[in-house]
């Protein structure tokens, strides 16, 4: 009966004993003490840079004018929202994130469902499916840009020549479809991640219930829409949330494949440019804060799921 084992008072399920005695409480604190530095370290290291970003976003701070660092109110945010490039970057970020998450989630779902069947070599196939996730992003982006998309030496146009002969169309993939070039390359990298989480969800599905449904005459499609999908929902939401958080921040692919040109500059690239080229720390920070707010808004739905789980297991 230690106070450590008690439910938080917020949990209505708590059936713990009455208030612990002072001695028990002292014992609990001696158990907590070793953890305190770690927790404080985590909080400091993860929060201070973010808080500093927020502070800088309210300041007029350009490295070219080091003597004019003053409080600027909301002017940086106004600048970001009225800047055509920034608005374009926000739009690109949304399109990029939504397309990549949706496509890679569907591909990952498909792969996970297929891998849930039994066939020889399944473990090996699964490991091979994970490969794209393991390639260093900069290397993957270089690979897509040059070895695959390149109009002269690239694989895609080489294949077109192989199939359609010398008169095959030879599109310049990146300049004709810049955004799609980036999207496909990121989808390639992120599909395995989605697959892994969904597959883990499938593995935790109670199969006896599925068997029972099958015996009762449920078709494969019925089992999928009424049993498998509802079971997978929290897993897919979590995969989408984690994926979205990461893809909103994608910089490596945009920087490597298009260098932010051809209308593919997303917010991270915009921040990078504002910071390194314009040296406008205030405006770059404001854009960063906007990304965070946007991410939180998008993630709220998924977060809610996370917190229902969270509520269930607090003790």
């Amino acid at each position: 009966m230690s106070p450590v084992a008690q439910n938080p008072t917020k949990n209505p399920l708590a059936t713990g004993p009455a208030k612990p005695s002072r001695m028990q409480r002292a014992g609990a604190w001696s158990r907590r003490m070793p953890l305190l530095p770690a927790l404080i370290f985590v909080i400091l290291l993860t929060q201070i840079p973010f808080v500093t970003t927020i502070v800088i976003s309210f300041m007029k701070w350009n490295a070219y004018y080091p003597d004019e660092i003053v409080f600027a109110g909301l002017s940086n945010f106004v600048k970001v929202f009225t800047d055509v490039n920034a608005r374009q970057a926000i739009l690109v970020t949304i399109i990029l994130t939504v397309s990549v998450v949706v496509i890679s989630l569907l591909l990952g779902l498909g792969a996970a469902l297929l891998l849930d069947h039994s066939f020889p070599g399944r473990g090996i196939v699964r490991t091979m499916m994970i490969t794209p996730f393991l390639v260093v992003p900069v290397a993957a982006a270089l690979l897509w840009k040059h070895a695959l998309y390149n109009p002269v030496y690239g694989l895609f146009n080489g294949l077109l020549r192989l199939v359609f002969g010398e008169n095959a169309p030879q599109p310049d993939w990146i300049s004709e479809h810049p955004l799609w070039a980036v999207i496909v390359a990121i989808v390639w990298q992120w599909t395995p991640f989605m697959m892994l989480i969904i597959l883990a969800g499938l593995q935790s599905r109670p199969l006896d219930v599925v068997e029972a449904a099958r015996i009762d005459g449920a078709t494969g499609r019925q089992i999928f829409t009424h049993m498998t999908l509802p079971h997978l929902r929290p897993f897919m939401e979590l995969a989408a949330l984690l994926g979205a958080i990461n893809i909103v921040q994608n910089f490596d692919h945009v920087f490597t494949i298009t260098s932010g040109g051809l209308g593919t500059a997303n917010l991270p690239y915009y921040i990078y440019q504002t910071f390194y080229t314009a040296h406008d720390y205030g405006r770059a920070s404001a854009a960063g804060v906007i990304v965070v707010i946007g991410t939180i808004i998008i993630a709220t739905f998924a977060l809610r799921t996370v917190f229902t789980i969270f509520n269930e297991e607090t003790r």
Binding site: V4, A5, N7, P8, L13, A14, T15, G16, R32, L35, A38, F41, V42, I43, L45, T46, Q47, P49, F50, T53, I56, L107, A111, L114, H117, S118, F119, R122, G123, M128, I130, V136, V138, L143, H146, A147, Y153, G158, W188, I197, G201, S204, P234, F235, L238, F251, D252, F255, P268, I271, F275, Y276, G288, V292, I296, V306, I309, E312, E313, R315
Partner: protein, 298 residues
């Protein structure tokens, strides 16, 4: 004794017989032809670019390969060029140093912090958890500014250690969240039993909790490692000297100097990917179950 709500799935020791070498649990129905075709197509999509990378790295006439599916021959020449003149030996060492420091510190700190948030009730506990999650949503590019200024003040701009501290800040939120699920999944009764048997907190931690959350530690260390190994923008902005470059920056700079030499570029790409693959294969048994358990527990 408190009630222990049934976890969504039981993630204690979830690694057994589910993944990796052990047989996966499976739907008993076998694949239909269209499903096989789809799987092959997905596999092709996943593997072909990677195959292309490796085979081009080995192709003696890599620059003029075009669409030929098989390399014109096999040669280690590009690899030796990259490691020798390209200086990738040093880049690999730099990255390994940064990644190992990040993994060790973040695992230790995140585990202790995870125990704190999973086990103990204290004011603002929930708020702290949300703050940690929000920290994960801040784009790296936004953090570049304060961290760059900070590192410049501390004269850690051109230092691998400074980079490791930055990566620590990135890998900690995910690690804390992931490990929190694992710690929460260990029944409190197990800890109680250890105390009853006369263990102190330290002994309980080392002998009871640590072995039980080991799969979670493996999963988080993989992610910390990959975070540190792959990271690009901070390495690009922090490191000024060639001899300090990590692999991602090294590759980018190397590419700038050898724009059309596909062989060496793909060899370098392959070379820097190999450690990730090796690390992953070593721990993949624990990884998927770890990811799942942590995922379900939030």
């Amino acid at each position: 004794m408190s009630t222990t709500p049934a976890p969504v799935i039981a993630p204690v020791a979830p690694e057994e017989s589910r993944d990796g070498a052990a047989p996966l649990r499976a739907d008993r129905t076998s694949l239909r032809p269209w499903q096989v075709a789809t799987l092959v197509a997905l596999l092709g999509f996943a593997l072909f670019p990677a195959y292309w990378m490796v085979s081009t790295a080995l192709d003696p006439r890599a620059s003029t390969r075009g669409g030929s599916l098989l390399p014109s021959g096999l040669t280690p020449r590009h690899f030796s060029f990259v490691l020798g003149d390209g200086g990738f030996g040093a880049f690999l060492l730099n990255s390994a140093l940064v990644a190992v420091v990040t993994v060790l510190i973040s695992s230790a700190v995140a585990l202790l912090a995870a125990v704190a948030v999973a086990r103990f009730r204290f004011p603002l506990r929930r708020q702290i958890l949300v703050m940690i999650l929000v920290a994960q949503m801040v784009p790296l590019e936004a953090l570049v500014i304060p961290l760059f200024l900070q590192a410049r003040t501390l004269h850690m701009l051109n230092s691998l250690l400074g980079l490791a501290v930055v990566y620590l800040a990135f890998s900690l939120p995910f690690a804390v969240w992931q490990l929190r699920g694992f710690v929460a999944a260990v029944p409190v009764e197990v800890e109680e039993a250890a105390y009853v048997d006369g263990c102190g907190w330290g002994q309980m931690f080392l002998r009871v909790l640590l072995p039980l959350v080991a799969p979670g530690l493996v999963a988080t260390s993989v992610f910390s490692f990959i975070t540190a190994w792959n990271e690009f923008i901070f390495a690009l902005t922090f490191l000024q000297d060639d001899d300090k470059y990590t692999v991602a920056v090294g590759l980018q700079k190397f590419f700038g100097e050898h724009t059309a030499d596909w062989g060496p570029i793909m060899a370098a790409s392959t070379l820097i990917t190999v450690p990730v693959v090796v690390f992953f294969l070593l721990v993949q048994r624990n990884l998927v179950s770890g990811l799942a358990a942590g995922a379900v527990k939030g």
